[in-house]
Point group: C2
Chain length 455, copies 2
């Protein structure tokens, strides 16, 4: 019998635990789910016989070490900054480890020791990062193996509301940490390269520089640039690629409306507003508009943002109750971002019957045998319900698959890893298909940035 220790029983672990529970009888697994709160861990387990819940404070060094010593492999589902302590213990006690988080600098520095001991520390094996890496590297490797030369790589992921639950004008609900959505894009310009030209988009232009993408069967989306696309050149072995661009997907029209919040300063998380506890939504909006007491907040906002009276963008703002003088922010010393989050959560929280959706879109431009071609690869995953969301599924199942394949020695590559190697992504992508996480690849002519019609 093998013991798998999962540390952290947050929302994103539901599908992981279900996956491993289903495999526990055939594969003779013992599952321990450890969390600061034993009740939360217990709830995640539901009625699994092969699993037990455990109370574990990861800052209690002795308890943490003891739990790790007793495991055959460790999955850390903690917030990313806490992985490193678990990783150091795994190194000492010779345990393999899996996380869904980006490889931190601290984690990277363990690579030499991890490799020397023949251990596998698999990271970035969730959805984004994770499924994006694997599905992209599969196509890139195939192109290269045929002798093709990569010309372009664009990649977009979005966590959205499923079409059947999409009932607001923004076509958006919070499917992960709302705070991260409110402050997304801050802290530096987006950097990427297009046909050899470096491009920079500052935060104040980010939501006005979108591009459209059509996903077969799901309609039109807009993509907005992520912070740093350039770093992916070395990760994906595309050092000389003339075009690389990574972004986030929203439904068309979201960004233009969101830009109103950005421009007015409502997404700022760096200072505190006065008197937010008793501030109405209307006063919140007014605090970012000029003081002209004989004009309405509505008129001042329309003028400042140049919103025409028949623009649907306006209805998006009204739908949020932004001009309500009776509803209160009700938070002490809130930053603009915290106040905005409060307003948005009222409208954008998933309801019990709501389903979420993960959408991924890759574009690969390449030259093969003197011909320029393009492959578009898309994947859509819809959640089952509020517990088994698309987010939990696409994060948890690849983590679970990687864990079992390492345990069963199907994956044996040592080191601090990302799933960018064929021997890793190939078997994992194959098993993901059983869970309906499938990429639809379509080949077409490569047009690059040359429009058909020029005047």
């Amino acid at each position: 019998m093998h013991t798998i220790l999962i540390i952290g029983a947050g929302k994103s672990t539901s599908s992981l635990i279900r996956y491993l529970s289903e495999k526990s009888t055939p594969q003779n697994l013992h599952l321990i789910v450890a969390d600061k709160s034993k009740a939360i861990a217990q709830k995640m387990l539901e009625n699994s016989d092969s699993a037990e819940a455990m109370e574990l404070d990861i800052f209690n060094v002795e308890a943490r070490k003891k739990a790790i010593i007793n495991a055959d492999i460790v999955i850390s589902m903690l917030p990313a900054r806490f992985h490193i302590e678990v990783a150091k213990d795994c190194l000492v006690f010779n345990k393999n480890m899996v996380t869904a988080s980006y490889v931190s600098k601290d984690m990277e520095e363990l690579n030499e020791e991890v490799t020397a001991k023949g251990l596998t520390f698999m990271n970035e094996i969730g959805v984004d990062p994770g499924i994006d890496h694997m599905s992209a590297m599969k196509v890139i490797d195939e192109i290269k193996e045929k002798g093709g030369k990569m010309l372009m790589f664009e990649s977009f992921t979005g966590g959205l509301v499923a079409p059947e639950s999409d009932n607001n004008l923004w076509n958006y609900k919070f499917t992960w940490n709302p705070r991260n959505v409110v402050v997304a894009g801050q802290g530096g310009a987006a950097e990427f390269i297009q046909e050899g030209k470096y491009k920079y988009i500052p935060y104040q232009r980010l939501f006005r520089r979108t591009e459209f993408l059509e996903v077969p069967g799901y309609g039109k989306f807009e993509g907005l640039a992520n912070r740093n696309s350039l770093a992916y050149r070395s990760v994906y072995g595309l050092e000389d690629i003339p075009t690389i661009y990574r972004g986030t997907l929203r439904r068309v029209g979201f960004s233009r409306a969101w830009n109103v919040f950005v421009q007015l300063g409502m997404t700022d998380d760096s200072y505190h507003l006065q008197n937010t506890e008793n501030m109405s939504y209307r006063e919140f909006v007014n605090s970012f508009l000029p003081y002209t007491p004989h004009d309405s907040v509505e008129l001042k906002l329309r003028l400042a943002m140049k919103i025409e009276q028949d623009d649907l963008l306006w209805d998006k703002l009204v739908e949020l109750d932004l001009f309500n003088a009776n509803k209160k922010i009700g938070l002490k010393n809130a930053t603009p971002a915290q106040a905005l989050q409060k307003i948005l959560e009222e409208k954008w929280t998933l309801q019990p019957e709501d389903k979420d959706m993960i959408v991924m879109y890759h574009k690969f431009g390449f030259e093969l045998n003197g011909e320029q071609k393009q492959i578009d690869s898309t994947m859509v995953s819809i959640g089952e319900n509020q517990k088994y969301t698309a987010m939990a599924k696409t994060v948890g199942i690849p983590v679970g698959i990687a864990c079992l394949k390492i345990l069963n020695k199907e994956i044996t590559m040592p080191g601090v890893l990302r799933p960018i190697h064929k021997e890793i992504y190939q078997p994992i992508l194959k098993e993901l298909e059983e869970y309906n996480i499938v990429f639809n690849e379509q080949e077409k002519a490569y047009k690059g940035y040359n429009p058909d019609i020029l005047s």
Copy 2:
């Protein structure tokens, strides 16, 4: 004979040194100007007999202490962050001290000891801060003494090019550190209060939220909000004032054009662009615009910023040679702000015959005997030439006056001070009039924010 030690002989010390040199014979003064470079100190002295230049590295503790021990009073004209070391020595050796900089937290913490020793550490006695404090407190105290109640305080200062040297479309040249001008307004929202309503302006809206001011004899200016106006409530004893607003002056039209740089991301100083050494001005602009290779940089910029073809704003951009494909940035690893500064310095550097100008505008709204009134107080100072600029004059002369009045015991208040007390500002403002630094005060009806005509 009294010895005055001036530490630091930067550009802003010219008028200070001339002022003190002129007073040295009648007042029996010995002036020592100490700088890292003796040559720079010597050059500032010109032919003064009563003054000597000295080489001093302020990080050489022994040399610094020795210089301070031998002085009767110390003026620190160093960059603000270096004052504290000088201040600590002055405290130990019982020397009074003068600076033109904002009181830092470190400096503030010396207050108790400075007061206990009966010493005077006068700070914020340049132009802004300095002349602004004194000229504002004079009117505020007068209103209060008459039994008036303050309703509004707005205050604006601008360092600009004098009308006779104003020959570009921006009506602007660099009259102080260009870097500070390029990054001005970043790092937090502007906060102020108008008729009891707190208002916040984020950086991305700062240059679109200006107000106009007319200075008699000098025409129209625009004012844009400074970062924190609220802190001045306690400094000026205006805790309950319903309106307080501080800002910076530019000529009308500057801010709307500058906003193009802000929106495109050209003022960002937080990251480095690729290949800036060989980047042309045109490529610099293009790096902030979408990649559409069949459109010109000009067209893309006009579209992105919605600049109509007959808008004079466009000519401002062209005047800067922004679209020149031959001129190079020529800086390694430049940030956007550094690259922009390079471009602007080519056009906005004061020429040898150019004169600068300091403009100050205060508005005081108050209620007296049941009547609402307003006093507008304005001051304009024009530089003599590139050495004796208006900036050097308005910074240096009040520093010099304060120094002599402390030395002569006309100012004896102890502590870490700002010139906000009547016994300090009154004699200094009086002497400033001899140097043509005079405020023009005009009383008018107070209208507040109530326009005459409402539809």
